[in-house]
Amino acid sequence: MYTYNDFDENFVRERVAQFRAQVERRLDRSLTEDEFKPLRLMNGLYLQLHAYMLRVAVPYGTLSSKQMRQLAYLAERWDKGYGHFTTRQNIQYNWPKLKDVPDMLDALADVGMHAIQTSGNTIRNVTADHFAGAAADEIEDPRPVAELLRQWSTDHPEFQFLPRKFKIAVTGSPTDRAVTKAHDIGLRMVRNDAGEPGFEVIVGGGLGRTPMIGKVIRAFLPKADLLPYCEAIVSVYNLLGRRDNKYKARIKITVAENGLEKIQNLVETRFEELKREFNGFDQELLFSIEAQFQPPVFRDAPTAAFEAYRAANPAFRSWSDTNLSDHRAEGYAIVSVSIKKHGATPGDATADQMRVLADLAERYGHDELRISHEQNVILPHVHKSDLPAIYEGLREAELATANIGLVSDIIACPGMDYCALATARSIPIAQEIAERFDELKLEHEIGELKIKISGCINACGHHHVGHIGILGLDRAGVENYQITLGGDGTETATVGERAGPGFAADQIVPAIERLIAAYLDIRNDSDETFLQTYRRVGLAPFKAALYPEKEAQNAA
C-alpha cells in the first residue's frame, strides 16, 4: 500500500493548518460565508439539512487496518459513532461541528488521509475496482495508476476551477466493477496485439439528469502515456466545457455537443504537445509507486477446514456462496462484507464494526480493506482456511449478512434524511425493500439483482444503472418514486428505461414486489437473471405487472 512521503505529509499538514486558520477567521467574523464556502468545500466540508457533513476520500477504495481504526475514532470522537460509505468510495460523517473539523482533518493526516478535492469543480477522488490486486480476471493492479492520478490531480494548478466536477475511475480487469462507463474518464485495462497492457480510454460517461454511457476515445493507450493523455482530455474540457449553464457543464455534454471526433482531434493534438513535456519523471514516479503495491506473500496451505465448516454449517455455506469471489491466488478468496444488514442503512458502519473489520483485516487479511462503490467493505486477500474465523467475527458484529449481489444489497444515497439537494428520501425505501424480501425468504431464489436508489436527479445512488432503479422525486409536495428498468453498470453498461408514472412512498415496495413476482414467473429458469430476462422480453410484461389497473383497462 502507498505510504505518504515527506512531500505528501507536508502538503496535507499545510492544508489542515490553512483550513484551521480559515475556520478561525470564519468564527471571528473576518470571513463571510460567501468567502468561506469555497474554502470549506475545497476541504470536503458541506452543509446539509441537519448539520455539516465531512466527506473524506478513500483513494481508490483502499484502507489499512490502521486507517480504518482511525475512521472509527473520528466517528466516535467527533460524530455520532458511525460513518457512511458512499458510492464514490468515500466516507461521510454526518454530524461534525464546524469548530472540530480542523482536528478531524489533523487526525486523518495522522494516517495519511484527507478530504481534499472531495467537493468543488476539481478532479475528485479517483476510484478503482474494489477487487484490485486480488481479482482472478485482472491484467494488472490498477491502483498504482490510480495513485499516480491522485498525485497528479491533487492541487493541479490548471484544474482547480474546471467547468464542473470531474470523476475518474480505473479498472485492471475486463470485468468492470468500477462503473468506468459512467465516469468523466473511465480507464479499462486491456492488452494490445503484442500482449502489452494499456488502457481503453472512455470519456463522457455520467449519470445525473442527463445520463450517458461513456464513449471510447482511445481503444488502446500505452500505460506510459496515461498522464499526458488524461491531462490532454482535462485541458481540452477545461477550455471547451460550458460555464454558462451548470447543467450542461459536465464533459458528457461537451462530448455530446461537439461530437466525439472533434474532441478526439483536439485531445490528440494537445496530447502530442504535452507528451514532450512528460520526459519520464511520471514513469519514474509510477515505478516507485508500483513498488509499494507489491502483492502480499500468499501462503500455500490446505483448505480442508473451510470445506469441513461449509459442510457442517448451513449459514456459513449460504454466506460463502454469496459473499466470496474468486481470488488470483490458489487457496484464497475475496470476502465482500455486507454493510446492508436487512433493515439497516446501506453503507453505514458503526465505530465498533469498523474496528472489527480492521482487526479481521490485520489478523487474516494482509492488513488490507477496500470500500466498494456498492457501499460494502471488502477483505481482498483471505486464505480459505481463515474464512470460518472471519465469518464468526463478522457474525458477532452483525456484519455476516449473506446478501451480496441480491435484492437487499441495495445502493442508496443519503437522500432527504441528510442531503440538502435531495427531493425525497432514499434510506427508508431501501430499508423497507430489504426487510420485505427478507420476510418473504425469497432473495436467494431471485438471485442476482441490483436495486439502486437515488433521492434526486443527481443520481448519487446510481439508479440509472440499477437493474431496478428507483428515483425519489417531489411531486406537488409529496414524495414520489419513479422506476427505471434494465440499467447495467458493468462492461455492458446501459441506462435503464423509465417504466411509467411514479409511485407514492407506501406503494413503491408493493410495486417492486410485483416486478419481481413477474420476473420469477417469466424467467426461463433460475439461471436467467433479472437483467437477462429483461433483455430477452423487454419492458412490456414488467410494465403490465407494475400497472395492473391500466392493463385491465386495456383488456376491457
Binding site: 470564519r26 468564527l27 460565508e33 452543509l47 455539516y52 461541528k97
Partner: protein
C-alpha cells in the same frame, strides 16, 4: 400575475452546529420552529430576509419558506421542512431527540 403571498418563516442553519434554526419576532434564532415569527405580510418577510444578511456570523444560508399557523406556533407546509424540524428517519438523531 405573481402568485399571492403565503405565510412564511425565515430559516437558516446555525454557523457552528450546522442545525436548523428559525428567526423569532425579537430577532433571535431558535432551534424550535414553534418559536418562529410567522410572516404574513410580504414586505415584512422581505425586511426579515434583508435582516438575515447581517447575521452571517450566527447563521448560514437563510431563506424564507412556507409555514402555517397552529395553536403551538408555526408548522411546516412542505415535507422537507418537516424533516428539518425533526432529523433523519433512520436514526433517533437530531432535533427529534433534542440533540
Amino acid at each position: 400575475m405573481s402568485r399571492p403571498f403565503t405565510p412564511k418563516v425565515l430559516t437558516a442553519n446555525d454557523l457552528i452546529e450546522g442545525d436548523a434554526v428559525w428567526l423569532t419576532a425579537d430577532e433571535t434564532w431558535s432551534r424550535d420552529m414553534a418559536d418562529a415569527e410567522l410572516l404574513e405580510d410580504e414586505a415584512v418577510a422581505q425586511e426579515r430576509l434583508i435582516f438575515s444578511l447581517t447575521q452571517s456570523d450566527v447563521v448560514v444560508g437563510a431563506y424564507l419558506v412556507d409555514a402555517e399557523a397552529s395553536p403551538a406556533g408555526p408548522v411546516p407546509v412542505h415535507f422537507r421542512e418537516t424533516f428539518r424540524t425533526r432529523g433523519p428517519s433512520n436514526y433517533a438523531h437530531g432535533k427529534q431527540v433534542g440533540a
